[in-house]
Structures are given as structure tokens and as C-alpha cells.
Amino acid sequence: MPHKAFAWFILPSALAMILFIALPLVSIVVQSLYIEHPQVLTQVESCSPFGGCTMETRVDAAATAALRDAQPLGRFNGLGTYFNRSHLATREIATILKDTDGIADSLRRIYQLPFYRALLFTLCYTAVVTPLGMLAGFWIALAVNRIPAVLKGPVIFVSLLPMIITPLIGSLVIYWMVNSRGILGNLLQWVTQDPTLSIAASGPLTWLTLFLYGIWIAAPFSFVVFYAGLQTVPQDTLESAMIDGANRWERVRFVIIPHLVPLATFVALVQLMDNFRVLEPIIGFNAQASATSLSFSIYNDLQAENGQLFASAAATSLLTIALLIVLLFPVLIRTWRDFSRKSAH
């Protein structure tokens, strides 16, 4: 394609990317560096049904608005927001490390800090759900590939169900089932003979439920991609493996898996990004008492009843992006290697 034609061809997507990805990103970077102007407080008389008229502290809305009009971005705070307690909490960590009762105590206290608590869950969720979800999807694909053609349609439909259901609704449904009054929660109490057992009240069980839910919802995507990939496995290679005496497992291990590795890299990339931004299950399962994620922190900052904390949300977003880049680096390097190897052929 001549350069000019290519430029015209790519122009719409390039424009859209600048408009919807690059510019918002710039705006987030800028917003994370500013905090609001000092509020102008005044004492005014206010009268309410209880306690009659008293002098109360109020915000002088007009004066505060004037400050805001003069400098709409607010006060420059540099990287202050990144290092405050809601984010990297460097000062708090320094204090914890200074007067500590051993590593366990320090770790416990660091875990009380909102950012690290969210980070730990997000990382664990990504680390557990990504491989297991892919494995589950691969297993379903192998199974579906072997069943008779009549059953294929219905089985594929059922396996895709988790993908069709909105995550929020799916998690709500399961939440009510595992609730201590729900059918699964009750069953668990009956099986363990422990009437006080409650998934919602136990941190580890909540995490486990969220992980299982995550695998359930992540499996269909891997399944679809791997199932498509299975249709491209060269039949003659498979047949020669059979003639060489390879059993079913060996055929999967030495023919199918190597054939699907490039696909797996792609699935891993997508799933890593998907799982790293986990939010809906935490809300659906009412699990914020024992699990919060980075996305949940952003959601929380933007939901505040006192107006949104934009700088805080922007800082968390950028930290999330930075972490995601670190996390994706090995996968990206792999993709690039695969790509350059192929083009060298």
C-alpha cells in the first residue's frame, strides 16, 4: 500500500485514538497533579428544627467558586496525591517500618492501607483467575471438540452463558445463593455442621468465591478462542502422532499445545487486562469488607457523596496503568519475539 493511501486508511482510527485515548490520558495526568482550592469558611447563623438558631461553620460557596473560576484546575500539588495515605503512603510506611514488632506486624499494618489492600487483592485475583480461567476454557474446548455434532450447539451455548450474563447480575445471583440464607450457603452449613459458617463473614472464603466467580466468567472467552484454534490443528500431524503411538494426552501435549501457544499469548494478554480491572464482582458480592481492587478505589473516589475526588481517582488510574504495563511486559516481549520470528521466515 502506498504511504499516502495508508495514511488516509489509518486516519479515522488514529483520530479516534487521539480523541478518546490520548487526550483523556493527558487530562488524567494533569488532574492528578492538582487538588482543590482551600474552601473559604465562614460563620453564619443557621436555624433548624432542633437546637434553634446557632452560629455554624459553612462554606462560602460564592467565594470558593470565585477562586475556582480564577484557576479552574485548583492548587498545584505535584506528586503529593501519589504519595499520600490513599495511594503509595510513603510516609505511613516509613513510620510502620520504624516502630515495628517484626515483619508480620509491619505487613499487617501495611495491609491496612487502602492502596496496598486493593493492590494485593487485584494481584492475587489476576494471578489466580488468568491461568485457571484459560485452563478451564482450554479444557472445555477440548471436550466440546470431541462430543457428537448434535450436542455441540447446546453445549457451546451453555458454556458461553457466563459471558452472556452481565457481570453485575451474575455476581448478584451467585451472591444470593452463597449468602448464609441462600441455597449454597445453607448447604455449606449443613455439610460442615457449622451453623455460624458464613461466606460473607469470612475473608478467605470471600476471596475464594470471588476467584471461582472470576474463573467462571473468564472461561468462555478462552474457550471460544481455543475452540477456533483447535479447528486449525493440522490433521496429518495429529495422525502421524497417532501412528507413532502417542496417546491422547501426548497428542495434546506435543501437537495441540505447541500449535496453540501464540493464541494462548493473545488470550493471556486480554485476560490479564480484564482481570486486573476487576470491579463488578466486588460490588455484586457486597465484598468490600474483605476485598477491594484498584478499580474499586477509583469507583469509590468518584462516588463520594461530597463531590468526587478527581485527583485521587486520577492518581489511582495512573498507578494502575503503570502496574499493568509492568505486568504485561513479559507477554508483550513474547508477542514481539513471535512476531519477529515469523517475519524472519
Partner: protein
């Protein structure tokens, strides 16, 4: 998660403009858009408001428990998404802070003849809101269960509540005799605020926005809360006030501190709970320590009119709300809530909240930065209740989270 279900149901059912014949004699045209919290007493008010819709006057209502999160962004835009914000004393400051609601003096002079002086909320000499009901948390007790456990008088302090709970449990009457709205977030924070108000200690250092809850009083409050949770269903951290009131109706609970606005159905002997209702006794919230203040901060519920709307819509909105909270409301639904409307005679369901008022209940603090404190409490207390940190650590955590937010919002340097 009933919250989200209610949101979507409310959005589906009530966000559509309701067109009906005008019943309330408003000739003005306009668009009235109301944002309100979602509980029984407000349903009655909203029902009357929507009945005003006509061919020229559209009335739409969005009732959701998320209203506090929606109101500031929704009223900041011009024209505002809602013309009326149904608020309480705790949710008015965020709107005042941003100047999002307008003075109502002219509208009150023109259309507000029905209002009593008590209903008028005046700030810096200007009328900024109209109140129509009192609310707050107070004690609900089951007389039959207490009697069975051999407790003769209704508990009046939290220590007595704990003793009574132990008596009920040890005699095998109920394993979990207590309930409360301990769901993390606003409700859990409200439990703390109620009890801390009862200690008489200030939330902030005098004259500043600096927090002062990491004190002996704060520790006592947390320890009392934790002691209470030992007698609650193990799932207590996922139970909010709506669930708690259902558990009460199901007869699973002997004592709870809950909203006065939820009392109506629970004491209605001809209603949904004929066995529970006659034995339900309402009294003032228990006190903590020597201060003698009931642990149920007082709220008024009312409404304000948005700033960023046309004068026609403002006038139409005010008239619709005047019809909604007309004296008829109190005579038609005397047990709907503790109305602050002319002609209301307190009924059985208001006994508890009236007891709070008469025994020295204090109003929920309306400082501009109280909302940030409330949010910090809602997020930071969970670990303590789960036994993962000490009371001092939890309170230090609340103060630090509050400080970070207050710095970003410009209340602290």
C-alpha cells in the same frame, strides 16, 4: 445488594414522566424532576407529587438509596438534571458547599402559606430548605422475648442492651438477639456517629476541620459496637437497615437500634407482621456512659430547589412539593412517619423518635466537612470489627483517611 435492584426498579418504574390529570390545582407549566432517597415514608410524599402531573406539567421521580452520590454531580450541570433534591440535614451541606440550591424566600412568600416556622431551614438569613419529617435511630424491643428472658424493664443504656442480649442467648431463646445496620459504608459509619454523638465528645477540634475522634470516647464507642456484634448474625457486615427491618418482621431479632421511618410497618398489627407487631416496643435510643444523650442523632428530611434551573421550573417544583407535603399528607397517613407538618398528631410509631427528642437527642453534625468524616468512617472501621486491628489503629486510620480527603478537598492544608 437490594440497593442496586431498587435503583433499577425505581429507574424503570418511576423515571418516566407520569402524565395524569392535575389534581392539585397547579396551572403553571413546567418540568419537575425530583431526586429522593428510597424508603417508605418518602414513597407517600412522592406519590402525592406525581399526582400533580398534567398535560403541561411533567413530574418525574428518581427514588434511590444512591441519591447522596448522585445529587452533587446532577445539580452541578446547567440545566440541572433534577429540579428538586429531597435531602436531610446531613445531605444538605454538600449542596450548600457548592452553591447548588437556591434561596426559597420568594417562593415561600408566594406559595408557602401552609408552612409552620418549624419547617423552615434558614441559613445566613435565607430559607434554603423546607423540612417535613423528623427521623433518627431509636431502640426497638420485643416485649415478649424480654419478658421470657426475665428482663423487667426496657434497656436504656448500651450496657443494659448487652446484658439483655446475653440473657436471651443464654436461655436459648435466640442465638443472635441483636441486629443493626452495620453494612460497610454509610450505614456502618452512621452507627458510629450515633454512638459517638451520645458520648458528647466533638468530632473535630474546636473551630478547625481537624479530626478529634481518636480519643477515649472513640475507643469506647468502637468497643461497644464490637461487643454488640457478638450478638448479631455472623453476616452482620452485609446487613443494612432494610434487611434488619425484614429480620425484625421475621421474628429473628429481639432488640435493634433502627430508623424511626421504618417503624410504621413493624408496629402495624393489621399489617404484614401480625405476630411481631403487638410485641414491638419503641423507646429512645440507648445512652452511652454518663452523658445521658440517646445514641441516635436527629435528622430532618426535607427538600431544596436546584439553582441551575429556570424560574418557571423552580416555581412549578415548589408548588408540586407544597402539594406533596400538604397537611392532607399527615391526616391521610398519620403513621407514615413523624411528620413536621401542620396538624400532625404524633401516633404510636413516633413514640421512639419523640423520646429521642425529649431526652436530649442531638442533631447530626452539619459541618461542611462532616460528610468526608462519615465516608472515612464507613471505609475504615471494618477491619477493627473483623478483629484485624486495634481500636486505636482503626481510629488513627479513620483520621488519616479523612485528612487525605480533606486536604484534597481544600478543608485542610
Amino acid at each position: 445488594m437490594t440497593k442496586l435492584l431498587t435503583v433499577s426498579a425505581a429507574a424503570l418504574l418511576s423515571a418516566l414522566p407520569v402524565m395524569a390529570l392535575a389534581e392539585c390545582g397547579i396551572s403553571d407549566a413546567g418540568s419537575v424532576r425530583i431526586l429522593a432517597n428510597d424508603f417508605g415514608a418518602l414513597d407517600l410524599v412522592m406519590e402525592r407529587a406525581t399526582s400533580c402531573a398534567s398535560d403541561t406539567l411533567s413530574v418525574s421521580v428518581n427514588q434511590t438509596e444512591e441519591h447522596k452520590n448522585l445529587q452533587v454531580p446532577a445539580l452541578s450541570i446547567n440545566p440541572a438534571e433534577y429540579t428538586v433534591a429531597v435531602i436531610a440535614n446531613n445531605s444538605l451541606p454538600p449542596l450548600l458547599n457548592e452553591g447548588l440550591v437556591q434561596p426559597l424566600d420568594d417562593l415561600v412568600a408566594e406559595y408557602g402559606a401552609q408552612l409552620t416556622p418549624q419547617q423552615i431551614i434558614r441559613i445566613d438569613g435565607k430559607i434554603m430548605a423546607i423540612a417535613f419529617m423528623v427521623n433518627g435511630m431509636h431502640l426497638f424491643t420485643r416485649a415478649d422475648l424480654l419478658e421470657e428472658a426475665g428482663i423487667e424493664s426496657t434497656p436504656t443504656t448500651w450496657a443494659e442492651v448487652l446484658d439483655a442480649a446475653e440473657a436471651i442467648r443464654s436461655q436459648g431463646i435466640l442465638e443472635y438477639p441483636l441486629a443493626g445496620a452495620y453494612a460497610p459504608g454509610w450505614e456502618l459509619a452512621e452507627e458510629f456517629v450515633n454512638m459517638y454523638s451520645a458520648s458528647g465528645a466533638p468530632f473535630f477540634k474546636a473551630g478547625t476541620a481537624e479530626p478529634a475522634i481518636n480519643s477515649e470516647a472513640g475507643v469506647t464507642v468502637l468497643e461497644t459496637m464490637k461487643a454488640l456484634t457478638a450478638y448479631m448474625d455472623p453476616d452482620y457486615l452485609s446487613i443494612g437497615s432494610l434487611e434488619a427491618s425484614k429480620m425484625w418482621g421475621a421474628g429473628e431479632v429481639a432488640m435493634m437500634n433502627l430508623w424511626a421511618s421504618q417503624a410504621g410497618p413493624l408496629i402495624d398489627a393489621d399489617g404484614d407482621y401480625p405476630e411481631i407487631a403487638p410485641n414491638t416496643v419503641l423507646t429512645a435510643a440507648p445512652t452511652l456512659g454518663d452523658a445521658g444523650i440517646p445514641a441516635g442523632a436527629l435528622f430532618w428530611d426535607g427538600f431544596s430547589i436546584a439553582s441551575n434551573i429556570s424560574d418557571e421550573d423552580a416555581a412549578a417544583s415548589f408548588q408540586v412539593m407544597m402539594h406533596a407535603i400538604a397537611p392532607d399528607l399527615a391526616t391521610e397517613h398519620p403513621t407514615g412517619a413523624s411528620w413536621m407538618i401542620d396538624g400532625y398528631v404524633p401516633t404510636d410509631n413516633a413514640v421512639g423518635i419523640m423520646a429521642n427528642v425529649s431526652s436530649g437527642g442531638v442533631a447530626y453534625p452539619t459541618l461542611p466537612y462532616m460528610g468526608l468524616m462519615h465516608s472515612a468512617l464507613g471505609n475504615e472501621l471494618v477491619d477493627y470489627l473483623q478483629g484485624k486491628e486495634s481500636a486505636q489503629e482503626a481510629l488513627a486510620g479513620v483520621e488519616a483517611a479523612y485528612t487525605a480527603a480533606a486536604q484534597e478537598r481544600g478543608y485542610l492544608n
